[in-house]
Amino acid sequence: MSKRKVLLMGKSGSGKTSMRSIIFANYIARDTSRLGPTIEVEHAHVRFLGNLVLHLWDCGGQETFMENYLQNQKDQIFKNVQVLIYVFDVESREIERDYRYYQSCLESLLANSPNAKVFCLIHKMDLIQEDHRDQTFDEKKRDILRLSEAGAGGKDKASEVVQCFKSSIWDETLYKAWSAIVYKLIPNVHAIEAKLANFTEVVEASEVLLFERATFLVIAHAEVSEQNKDVHRFEKVSNIIKQFKLSCSKMGSQFEQVQVKNDQFAAFIEAFTPNTFIMVVLAGPGSASVSATTILMNIRLARKHFERLEEAGAA
């Protein structure tokens, strides 16, 4: 069993607990309005991919707490961290102070856990008009990378350690950001990817995605050709399936298998290993007539290979 310590920081009200609840506790976006502010640090252990446990430290962002983290509790908080997720409220009125705290946190982090990765989420992007979102994000990203230089020790170093994402709990951007985060935390992700590429070739699929079962984040993918594909499709699919999973649970049920076809494609989503779901996509005219039984049989045959891989990753 491997444990990963993940810090979730940012000013109070920036949306840390909301996004954590959506990704890991099956909240729907609207219900997060019921969440109260986090007092000090809330610990959450999330079983991810079965054998990987994420130890989330959701750090309440009020000033007194922040001062505490940076002074008295410095060692306790910033030691042995794999990932720091720092959340910025895009509409914050005290952006200078936010940045100052971010810099202090980054410094303390890299002093105590030099190999940690940092993900900065520019959050609540839904509050920005759609056509201004890219520009706003680029500006914030530039500021954050510049501020990270001192702590990380140089410009190149900063862009290596720190990655920025825009996010909103109201659309699929949240899934994109979190997929990137967990990708960094999975121990044998490259072995899984290689195996998936092999499988894709064998079943003659145009694309295969592997989802973590509880969160529906895409943890690995394999594809034959890039062309004509929506670059945001992974997070969109995550979002679509997760929403559907929530509607099923309202009925007291859960789906086991989904097939969707039209004239141009056929997609099969099925429960795969104990910790994952798989999606196989066949593309091109005529793929709708490919026998579903064949595909499903191939998925079943591949299952044990991936189960073994998961067990190996846990050891």
Binding site: D126, K236, V237, I240, A288
Partner: protein, 350 residues
């Protein structure tokens, strides 16, 4: 069956009255300011996500809109809250009106709204006695369960009082109350009910669905307008909200995934003749979606042991599809005055 061209499918139309077949039926939306009229329209017919409606500004003028790329072929007219919909210019509109909606903000004091509503209904009734009156008790997502029903009860009785004072008791027979919210499926459910009353073929469609269910061992089936997720007909068994919601969500899954992986580059819809979806649930149930026409889909739910004989269901589905096509073709022939002799065949297969 493939002879059934696109043009014809576009003519899957219905009217209020034969004489007025040239004109689309009108659905009029009224209600006080900020009651949620525009949000409802945008969420149901323009696919706006509910949280985005917060940015909607107050509507300043009468807004007319035709529902497009949908089976549902009507015009919506929205009157801003501060404007009375009755003047010399709108009389013709009320003559063509199929349904008059009044939207009430249930989170606000609705005394004034209720008075205005009684007055509107009475005035509309004077112009056109065939109008269906629909009350949307809206924004109920913010209310506790018991007060939803209390509100419904109170409004019903106040309306009854007000209208009988004016000697218009009989209007109450055509008034329906709906508890709605844009944050769940209730708004689509309510609109489904409104639209169904405007569809003349409804009894035939229901009968066809009943026959399909019986012969295929299907538990429940819906005929959906795909774009709006309004169901235009269902079989005669009662509708469970949870089942309806799940079917709606299945349409979302089908359309969204098809849009990602199955859209053609020529800009045509990803919902095509071969569109099909199947979802197996742990509770030993299967949801199946099939394309019926450009805008319509059949969505049904059945026990998984009854879905083993796919061929039988496939066969029944094809017959059902032919039946549906005939229903609308008869309609079309009637409209265009071509003599026809095969109307009695509809539903005669078994």
């Amino acid at each position: 069956m493939s002879s059934y061209g696109d043009d014809e499918i576009d003519d899957y139309a219905y009217g209020l009255d034969e004489a007025e077949r040239a004109a689309r039926p009108i659905v009029i939306l009224t209600g006080l300011k900020r009651s949620g009229k525009t949000s409802i329209r945008k969420v149901v017919f323009q696919k706006m996500s509910p949280n985005e409606t917060l940015f909607e500004e107050s509507t300043a003028r009468v807004t007319q809109d035709t529902v497009r790329s949908s089976f549902i072929n009507f015009e919506t007219v929205e009157f801003p809250g501060q404007l009375s919909p009755f003047d010399a210019n709108t009389e013709d509109m009320f003559r063509r009106c199929g349904a008059l909606l009044f939207i009430i903000d249930a989170q606000d004091d609705y005394t004034e709204a209720q008075k205005t509503m009684a007055q509107y209904f009475a005035q509309a009734y004077q112009i056109n006695q065939n109008i269906k009156f629909e009350v949307f008790i809206h924004k109920v997502d913010g209310l506790p369960e018991e007060s939803k029903l209390d509100t419904n009860f109170e409004l019903f009785h106040k309306m009854k009082e007000d209208l009988s004072e004016q000697g218009l008791d009989k209007i109450m027979n055509t008034v329906s109350f709906h508890l709605t919210s844009i944050y769940d499926h209730s708004i689509f459910e309510a609109f489904s009910k409104v639209v169904q009353k405007l569809i003349k073929q409804l009894p035939t469609l229901e009968r066809l669905l009943d026959i399909f269910n019986q012969s295929s061992n299907v538990e429940k089936s819906f005929l959906f307008d795909v774009v709006s997720k309004i169901y235009i007909a269902t079989d005669s068994s009662p509708v469970e909200m949870a089942t309806y919601e799940l079917c709606c969500d299945m349409i979302d899954v089908t359309i969204d995934i098809s849009a990602i992986y199955g859209s053609k580059n020529d800009g045509t819809s990803a919902f095509d003749e071969k569109s099909y979806a199947e979802i197996r649930l742990q509770t030993e149930q299967v949801l199946v979606l099939r394309q019926l026409s450009k805008h319509l889909a059949l969505v049904c739910i059945l026990r998984s042991e009854n879905y083993e004989k796919k061929g039988l269901i496939e066969h029944n589905f094809n017959i059902f599809k032919m039946g549906i096509e005939k229903v609308f073709r008869v309609r079309k022939q009637m409209n265009s005055g071509i003599p026809h002799s095969n109307s009695s065949q509809v539903g005669s297969y078994q």
